[in-house]
């Protein structure tokens, strides 16, 4: 089947029930999307399919055929000078020094990025509601909370 990931087309030989997480990581080699639980609970494997946050560990790859998949590797953009420009969420997560081990962070940032698309001016309660289904064992929640708010600010400043 053909998958469009981060603007590139990949021809992959996979069966209908192969899960998107392992196709991304082991077949295509995009290991930025992480495996945490395999049952869609922790959120480490979150990616965007047509802009929607999906848990790739329980999503068959076949569902994404003909759609646009974005992973953490595709969140930043490249400017005219060929330099990497971090997404506001990535920039804010560095600015607030959020990640510790960072295994959950791809999922946290993908969740935050999609959330800010739908709600560019969130308050704290909105952020907590949107982010509370992603687990961080290192306990960075207070920084995630402040960094998502900061990312909204960065996005507004850039607009």
């Amino acid at each position: 089947m053909e998958l469009n990931v981060n603007g590139q087309t990949y021809e992959v030989e996979v069966s209908a029930d192969d899960l998107l997480l392992w196709v991304l990581r082991d077949t295509i080699g995009l290991t930025g999307t992480k495996f945490g639980c395999g049952i869609g609970v922790c959120g480490s494997c979150s990616v965007h399919i047509d802009g929607m946050v999906m848990r790739s560990c329980i999503t068959p790859a076949a569902i994404a055929v003909g759609k646009t998949i974005t992973t953490i590797e595709g969140l930043a953009t490249v400017n005219d000078a060929g330099e990497e420009v971090l997404h506001p969420v990535q920039e804010a997560f560095i600015e607030h020094q959020v990640p510790q081990c960072s295994w959950c962070m791809s999922g946290q940032m993908m969740t935050a990025a999609a959330f800010l698309e739908s709600n560019p001016t969130p308050n704290d309660d909105d952020i907590i509601a949107a982010m509370s289904n992603n687990t961080c064992r290192c306990g960075t929640y207070v920084r995630i909370r402040s960094a998502v708010a900061r990312a909204a600010q960065i996005a507004e400043d850039r607009a």
């Binding site: 192969d18 899960l19 392992w22 990581r25 082991d26 080699g29 995009l30 290991t31 930025g32 999307t33 992480k34 495996f35 945490g36 639980c37 395999g38 049952i39 609970v41 922790c42 480490s44 992973t71 953490i72 590797e73 969140l75 930043a76 990497e84 971090l86 990535q90 997560f93 560095i94 020094q97 990640p99 510790q100 081990c101 960072s102 295994w103 959950c104 962070m105 791809s106 940032m109 907590i128 982010m131 509370s132 289904n133 992603n134 687990t135 961080c136 064992r137 290192c138 306990g139 960075t140 929640y141 207070v142 920084r143 995630i144 909370r145």
Partner: protein, 745 residues
């Protein structure tokens, strides 16, 4: 070009040749404390009988519980640590593992200060086992990295600085005293136009470097440029872009995926194993059955995991223990045990009132979000293993045994670690990948499922605590007794403990951690009881401190209540003697001010306090909770921490925040249950963790009672969390919570 290690001076070569010897020496240092004890114990057993054995063990346990952790000797050549290339980039090779604690950044700050590096011209690398650091030094555990490495790194960086100074002076025809180091360069004092970059000094060097035999003068603290600043983490750009490579992410040409059969009960061994119909399952490349081990390799990860279910396996032995039996085994008996602290005589203290309570702490898993993972390539006489581990040295040893290869032929490449908390101190997955790779000649990646990690790792041991205290007629605390019962931490043979240590010590020093009574009470006694369960238990963040501080600091609150004294005031009244007491007072005072303790909380809120001294660090924690029939909620935490000199304040605060949230998670939600000899929790649907909704507002005060780092930061705070919560719940609703996880129902 910069000097490569293999081109180095005779000193360096000698250092490399001494590697094994150094390793042996560092082990010997660790065993020295024990060694003295063995003699005393042997003499005691012959001449003095049980009394002398008890006294010898008391002395040895005291040494263990209060002494510094063992660490490998650092290499003497700066070129093991640093390479400065012609482009003036300083490459730093860090022996400690980055698992989220920010150690690569903190150690870089220490080195950069003494070596006067330009922060923008530094590149940080994880050292692998071929670099020249020994395995004991690379072992990353026990919140010891900064305290153990601070002085050696400063010395080695200063040594290189002075070597560069001498060379710069020679190249410019000046004297060394005229040269000043600034921003990865030397210049003649007052003449910036004479600047030569370190990279150029090294490139232009003729002949061999000689390493000075004496340690040069180190900077004064007032001259620090990086130490004490919140330098940004060096690993975050890679991490936020998804480029950082962890053990689970390693990919090499021609790789395949492995999975391993697991027993149905802890301790069960393979009685017989055949391939069954595993070989005909989709994607299967080979079935590997040998010496009590059965595994499969396949083209895809899920294919390997599926094929495991098709092996024909018969298991024998193992335990059928139930949770009820575990709870019954792990309790503090009235008699016996090993004395680990005794001051005065608790039995003869003035006793007009006696207070007593029992506490329980359940088994818990680490739940680090990256499960065990390793990638191995094995040939007839070599092995290369990428692995997510805290213990590269132990991993190398165990792989050498499994492959029957000399350790020198095995290269361990530690990756970024996706959380550990003690879970990655063993060598399980590295050995599995190596065995499968050897049997099939293919590079094999093994990544555990969450279910495997939750069931087949080791876990925090179940513990029980029994405390009693006496007050005299005036309400003074006259005696405190603490009885601890726990299953193993260090005594688990899988992580290096077992027989000999146990005979010697009688008490597992890491399960007893946090059990010593530091309060200034005339009569004190602590007794440890080994209550072993046949379920693998070992290191978990904070070790015994989590259970023991929960019990002792909850009990301190109970005594304060009986004595009718404010719990914070009560702790100040019995603060330890000397410097430690001053540190307690400073921390309690700072936390009290942060929390505005003197002003009562709003209606519906309760506040509790706990204080702990752990791994050299003093922690005072106050939390504010609310609670209803359903749920305890921690709204705010105020924490004062004194680890001595802080290298990176923001990094230290991150450790405090993380420890508080992990502590809340474990105190409120976590309990691993075993039935029929196997854990019943398998994944996060039946082992819930704290989420963002559980995270309180956290205010931190960092105190520095010393001009060097004297305490750890990764673990000490977590021990204070459960008692602070239980004490806050008591303040709110008069209910004593003596068993975790806490419920109000």
């Amino acid at each position: 070009m910069a000097k490569q290690p293999e081109q180095l001076s005779p000193e360096e070569q000698a250092a490399a040749a001494e590697k094994k010897a150094r390793r042996a020496i560092s082990r010997r240092r660790f065993l020295m404390v024990l060694g003295g004890g063995v003699g005393v114990l042997a003499v005691g057993a012959v001449l003095g009988g049980p009394t002398l054995v008890r006294e010898a063990r008391l002395a040895i346990n005291q040494a263990f519980l209060t002494g510094a952790a063992p660490s490998g000797a650092p290499p003497k050549s700066p070129f093991v640590w640093f390479e400065i290339t012609a482009d003036n980039i300083a490459h730093l090779y860090i022996p400690k593992i980055e698992m989220g604690q920010g150690i690569h950044t903190a150690l870089t700050q220490i080195a950069a200060d003494e070596l006067e590096l330009d922060w923008a011209q530094i590149q940080v690398h994880q050292a692998d086992s071929a670099r020249g650091f020994d395995g004991d030094l690379m072992f990353t555990f026990g919140s010891t990295s900064v305290t153990a490495m601070y002085q050696p790194i400063r010395e080695i960086a200063a040594t290189l600085r002075e070597m560069l100074r001498a060379e710069a002076a020679a190249q410019m025809g000046r004297t060394t005293t005229e040269m000043v180091a600034v921003g990865s360069a030397f210049e003649v004092s007052g003449a910036p136009e004479t600047r030569i970059a370190y990279g150029k000094i090294i490139t232009d060097k003729q002949g061999e470097w000689s390493i000075p035999g004496t340690v040069p003068a180190l900077k004064a603290n007032s001259d620090f440029r990086y130490i004490g600043t919140s330098a940004p983490r060096v690993d975050l750009r890679e991490k936020v872009t998804g480029r950082a490579i962890y053990g689970y992410d390693v990919r090499v040409e021609g790789m395949v995926y492995g999975a391993v059969a697991r027993p149905p009960r802890y301790g069960a061994k393979l009685k017989s194993a055949t391939a069954g119909d595993a070989e005909t399952q989709p994607g299967v490349i080979a079935v590997v059955i040998q010496d009590g081990f059965a595994g499969v390799i396949a083209s895809a990860r899920t294919q390997a995991q599926n094929a495991i279910l098709h092996l024909a396996l018969e298991w024998e032995g193992g335990t059928t223990i139930s949770q009820a039996e575990i709870d019954s085994i792990v309790s503090v008996p009235a008699e016996g045990g090993t004395l680990i602290q005794r001051d005065g005589d608790v039995t003869s203290a003035a006793n007009s009132k006696r207070i007593e309570a029992r506490y329980r702490t359940p088994m818990a898993v680490h739940a680090q979000l990256e499960p065990q993972a390793a990638m191995a390539t094995v040939t007839a006489d070599s092995a290369v293993v990428y692995v997510s581990t805290q213990a590269p040295g132990l991993t190398r040893e165990k792989i050498a045994l499994a492959l029957k290869l000399d350790e020198a032929k095995i290269e361990i490449i530690p990756t970024y670690v996706g959380g550990a908390f003690g879970r990655k101190t063993g060598a399980d997955v590295g050995v599995e990948a190596a065995l499968l790779a050897k049997a099939t000649g293919r590079p094999v990646h093994v990544g555990w499922t969450r279910e495997e990690d939750m069931k087949y790792g080791y876990r925090r041991p179940p513990a029980a605590n029994h405390l009693w205290a006496t007050l005299d007629g005036e309400g003074n605390l006259t005696a405190l007794h603490h009885g601890i019962a726990s299953s193993d931490v260090l005594f688990n043979p899988e992580v290096g403990g077992g027989g000999f240590l146990e005979t010697l010590l009688g008490a597992d020093p890491l399960a007893a951690y946090g059990g010593l009574i530091h309060y200034n009470i005339p009569n004190r006694r602590v007794i440890y009881h080994t209550t072993r369960v046949p379920v693998p238990t070992a290191y978990w963040r904070g070790l015994g401190s989590f259970a023991n501080t929960f019990a002792s600091e909850s009990f301190m609150d109970e005594i304060a209540f009986e004595a009718g004294i404010d719990p914070l005031e009560f702790r100040l009244r019995y603060k330890p003697e000397g410097d430690l007491g001053a540190r307690y007072e400073a921390a309690l005072t700072a936390a009290s001010q942060l929390a505005n303790w003197a002003t009562p909380p709003a209606p519906g809120r309760g506040r509790g306090v706990a204080v702990t001294y752990d791994r050299g660090t003093v922690v005072a924690l106050i939390v504010e909770v609310s609670g209803d029939e359903q749920r305890i909620r921690v709204h705010h935490a105020w924490c004062a921490v004194d680890p001595g000199l802080v290298i990176n304040p923001d990094g230290a605060i991150a450790q405090v925040q993380g420890s508080i949230i992990m502590g809340i998670s474990s105190a409120l939600y976590e309990r691993q249950v075993v039935e029929n000899g196997m854990a019943t929790n398998q994944n996060f649907n039946d082992y819930p963790l704290a989420r963002m909704t559980d995270a309180p507002t956290i205010d931190v005060a960092l105190l520095s009672s010393d001009d060097t780092p004297i305490g750890g930061m990764g673990e000490p705070v977590i021990g204070a969390v459960p008692a602070a919560i239980s004490n806050a719940v008591f303040a709110l609703m008069g209910l004593r919570l003596r068993e975790m996880p806490f419920t109000l129902g």
